[in-house]
Amino acid sequence: MDFDPMVMDDAESLGPVVKISQADSVRTKFELSNVDISFANSLRRVMLAEIPTIAIDLVEIEENSTVLADEFIAHRLGLIPLNAEGVESLVNSRDCDCEGYCEHCSVRLTLHAKCTGDENMSVFARDLVPTGERLNQVLGTPIVTDSEGLGPLILKLRPGQEIKLECIAKKGIAKEHAKWAPSAAIGFEYDPHNKLHHTDLWYEQDPKAEWPPSEYAEWEEPPQEGEPFDYDAVPNRFYYNVETAGNLPPDAIVTEGIKVLQQKLAGLIHELTEGEGGDGANGDYNGPRSPEYNTGADGFGGYTTPFGNAGNQSAWGGAGGTTPYGTTPYGAGQSSWS
């Protein structure tokens, strides 16, 4: 097999090109070109949802005399961005050997505030104090970027009110809950002149007059007057705007995103090559299996698919009482349940 997946069909077969137009502590704007839209979109998706970070996941409230309900405060705490530097050495709490949580898979933070003055008091993220053993000195510290050094407002206390709680921050990904998202937003666009007609621009009289040009419009050649539509054209230049929520630097979001994608692939290659040697790999495997093995006969009746009824009943109507989903406990007339 002698072909280079990096070489595109275009005239400039240089492989992928990255051009950065802005990079600071909050955002990175870059252009990725000479890749396929499928890869560009994979990168966007993986940055959005699958980069592990750390966020508060458990809250134990000892004292709450504020006007806000416990669960309301717990939710707010979950959304506070925490520094995720070094999160890769944190064990995923579900994979940890400990029961519940420990210092290898979590960071403990405490919050204790009481309003003793006679004016209302605000409690900010900086008042969340990491305690106990930590993998490094910054992991799990609330992100504070405002000039006063306060961080996000959590709640307010009237005179005499008190809040005392303990939080457990765990590692996770945004696919499970958006609080683990490393990015505040990811801008993704291509074809600023809509030459490919992937978008229908809504308009009253004239879309050109009513829609502001994209900031990338001048980077690309505008369509010529009366230019015929190119049916073979594919998007080639993709403009990203990766804005961090603070937990990871924007560059790290990009590199981590690609890393996550590679880890996915590495895991699959490993499984593919491992499984090849042993024949009948499905035999002693009791995890997820391909549908046909989930026959109702072996007690899997609960969730067989239409393909899953090999020797038992046909999904297309053998015995009476079957559902299209095979021998459900309800459908088979009589089963081990009765």
């Binding site: 097999m1 072909f3 997946p5 990096m6 492989g15 992928p16 090109v17 990255v18 950065i20 990079a23 990175t28 990725l32 890749v35 499928s38 890869f39 979109n41 994979s42 998706r45 993986v46 699958e50 590199t255 690609i258 890393k259 994608l261 590679q262 996915k264 692939l265 590495a266 699959l268 290659i269 499984e271 593919l272 090559t273 491992e274 499984g275 090849e276 790999a281 499905n282 495997y285 997820p288 299996r289 391909s290 549908p291 046909e292 093995y293 109702g296 006969a297 393909f307 009824n309 090999a310 038992n312 009943q313 046909s314 053998g318 015995a319 009476g320 088979a332 007339g333 009589q334 089963s335």
Partner: protein
């Protein structure tokens, strides 16, 4: 009372679909253990693979990379049902290679592509910060 065993006995009357159902397992040749496996009905050069807990993120990019392999006749991916965490990839190759090889090559090629993009990004980032400071 219709029991399971009775249901099975009644089955032969419905020979057509029964045979189809029973033929599937003989051609089922699982290659891998965990996340993905080929689905019933595969031949060496044509197979469908099922990936658990994967979606468009992997599926679309992988489909593209596999399709760039000149020895691949056909490759497509699907998410059969949005509420099942499954993604399937169909690969058909020309003689001379197998669907599994094409899949493995696709995975490795996508990894290489990721490597290149990482390098290019880091390089561009360094060039940008060098340009900004000077």
């Amino acid at each position: 009372m219709p029991t399971r065993s009775k249901a099975r006995k009644e089955e032969p009357a419905e020979a057509g679909s029964d045979i189809v159902m029973e033929e599937a397992p003989t051609s089922h040749q699982p290659e891998s253990k965990d996340d993905d496996m080929s689905l019933p009905g595969s031949t060496p050069t044509a197979a469908s693979f099922e990936f658990l807990n994967e979606g468009h993120t992997l599926g679309n990019a992988l489909r593209y990379v596999i399709n760039r392999n000149p020895e691949v006749e056909f490759c497509a991916y699907a998410i059969p049902h949005p509420s099942e965490p499954k993604m399937t990839v169909r690969i058909q190759t020309f003689e001379g290679t197998t669907a599994i090889e094409a899949l493995e090559k696709g995975l490795r090629d996508l990894q290489d592509l990721c490597d290149v993009v990482t390098d290019k990004f880091i390089e561009a980032r360094e060039r940008f910060s060098a340009g900004a400071s000077s």
